[in-house]
Symmetry: C2
Subunit: 396 residues, 2 copies
């Protein structure tokens, strides 16, 4: 709650990546880390790592964490919960003088949200070698300010290296599933694949009074038909498939003119690889069929094809085991949103824990998770960290 | 074609109501009128009337005409054809020294298009008592300039009174019906009724990745469903019914957010009174049913309810008879667009003649009507005027 006041603007929080409030939040976080006697390091993209050493310094540590940046007008839980609950785990170890074999560390990744600089998940992408540091540094915000400028200005252009043995991320679900099903925990098996398209139907703009229905080539009607059929296609695919038309702009956008053009976007997600590929094919086929049906021409570009991610089975099973041992209700599920954990999964065994978002709200001041649910999430982190720090990250 | 050069900007013409080019066009028109020895008068809203006197000055004249203003980037036929062909009829009478019992007059109404000042058809509305002169004078363009200011500035704030015995308007169809059916003339029986609504569906904005389909309240999906069902409703109503969604704006208009809001417009037209009322009821019922189906709330406002207009049967029959006598192919039809003739029909027997628009294009530089079709229209005007000027306007 103290961190949630940093960057407060009215009802919401604004700690956009590398702005003044994000710096203030990072500084506060590091003061917490120093209170716990941790070794704090900062890497070239400004990711912060705080290590509590273990008995065996040769093995890479158990890393827990998330991110400290927010969208504009954000809530207080997204990201910060994962970082601060990981620090709470370390506090617990300190308070109870628990020595661990491996080290235990907290990570706070830079610019997960992508609300100011693109791409999102920048810190974990750079850390895991999925994005070059030079390219990341060059990224500009709307005012032409670069990531590197802001890292320097805020004092977070580091040069430390860090190694992770495994990674655990606690995060609010940001969706309505756990809350609506009355469950306490989501054991996250992976991240949905996500495909994005930009499309445009072009028909013919005509007078809405003088053009009979059978002589129209209404581009908005085509896009509307697509919007309806997309939903049916996702329902038929099933297994958690979702498809969304988020943007739709008719041209000329005049009430008494039959629209001659319609720009639209399609977002399709599915967690299972084969179904994801099949779903993409069906979406493209549908977009093309609708063009033919309404006698409009089509231009279509796929802008994103992020394949589904499956987390390490052993790590996921460990999260499930600890959740059960704590007597918590849960379901195994997939994340519909992107998270730093998905990039961490490229380099080390990784899993995620979700706790409920009330009414599924997120990226808004109404984002809420009960204190009891936050405590549940932190307890699972603690139990997993204890077991991992003794047994190592490669669980059979 | 000479008039079509006045206000030329690139491929198109810009004689927006009461701008400099519109003044230049009016001045040119009046010079043509004076060449024919006509009595020119200008009324308080700037409508121009030019009278060729008949033998019997007690009876009001046969009036033909249309308007001289254009939309932005217009073609050369919309409006000007009706005014100039009426003048051509009078030229023919002069050239052949034909004396008529009643007078024959040309009318050019102010601001038919409504592209600069609203409402459209302002000149004929004021002339027929459907709009007060004070209200019309106060109308402002986007820069806050009033109609009265511009009438004064351009020298067209008149004070003459004029009386019409009947009214005939030749106009390009502005739709594709005649061209696509290969017909030469449209005998216009009336003007479609037109109903406009502004609507807004409000559901819930949600993350496109984390929100399962069954938990969504997608306002854009609702509006898209409406767009598709509107078309079906208009098809089922039949008899020339048309319905159009011209504008649709999802909120927040972000590709990975399920739209929580959608603003839309509906335009419904039908020429037959009872079907028009029935169609309106069905459209409103549909908009409401869709809100319920998609669990979104609805705000709906009807902004226009212009009842269908039926022209005088005798006048329409006369146009048909003269069309047939000239050996021209035709169909009886309704106008999908509004015209000055619809207001003139409130005060005197009125009819309209349509000639084909190639590919139905209008309000754009591609607006075309062949010279032969223009001549056909003028010949029908001439034949009608000759008969009306002898027999009077109340044809049995």
């Amino acid at each position: 709650m103290e961190m949630g006041e940093v960057g407060r603007e009215g009802q919401g929080v604004n700690r956009l990546a590398l702005n003044d409030a994000n710096k203030e939040g990072r500084d506060l976080l590091i003061s917490y880390m120093h209170e716990e006697g941790l070794d704090v390091s900062v890497d070239r993209i400004g990711n912060i790592f705080a290590l509590r050493k273990g008995r065996d310094s040769r093995e890479p540590p158990i890393v827990m964490g998330s991110h400290m940046d927010t969208v504009r007008n954000a809530g207080v839980f997204d990201g910060a919960l994962g970082v601060l609950s990981s620090l709470e785990v370390i506090r617990f170890l300190n308070q109870h003088d628990i020595e661990t074999r491996r080290g235990v560390a907290v990570a706070a990744f830079t610019n997960e949200e992508g609300a100011r600089f693109q791409p999102d998940m920048m810190g974990s992408m750079v850390f895991t070698g999925q994005l070059g540091i030079e390219e990341a540094w060059k990224a500009e915000d709307d005012d032409g300010v670069t990531v590197k400028d802001e890292l320097k200005r805020t004092g977070y252009l580091g040069s430390d290296e860090f190694h992770a043995g495994c990674f655990l991320e606690l995060h609010v679900e940001q969706g309505p599933v756990l809350h609506s099903e009355g469950l306490e925990v989501g054991v996250v098996e992976g991240v949905q694949g996500m495909a994005w398209w930009d499309g445009e139907y072009t028909g013919e703009a005509n007078h809405a009074g003088t053009t009979p229905l059978n002589l129209r080539r209404d581009a908005l009607l085509a896009a509307a038909d697509l919007c309806c059929r997309l939903r049916e296609t996702a329902e038929a695919l099933g297994h958690g498939s979702v498809a969304t038309m988020g943007r739709l702009h008719p041209r000329p956008d005049i009430r008494n003119v039959v629209p001659g053009g319609a720009f639209f976007t399609v977002d399709f997600r599915q967690y299972e690889s084969q179904r994801y590929e099949e779903g993409q094919k069906q979406v493209v086929k549908l977009i093309e069929e609708i063009a033919e049906k309404h006698r409009v021409s089509l231009s279509l570009e796929q802008t994103v094809d992020a394949k589904p991610i499956r987390f390490d089975t052993g790590m996921v099973d460990l999260v499930e085991k600890k959740t059960r041992e704590l007597g918590l209700t849960y379901k195994r599920m997939h994340s519909g949103a992107g998270h730093d954990a998905q990039f961490m999964s490229y380099i080390c065994p990784t899993a995620m824990i979700f706790v409920p978002s009330i009414n599924g709200r997120s990226h808004c001041p109404e984002e809420r998770t009960t204190k009891a649910d936050c405590v549940n999430g932190a307890n699972i982190l603690l139990q997993c960290a204890l077991e991992l720090s003794e047994k190592g990250c490669r669980i059979p």
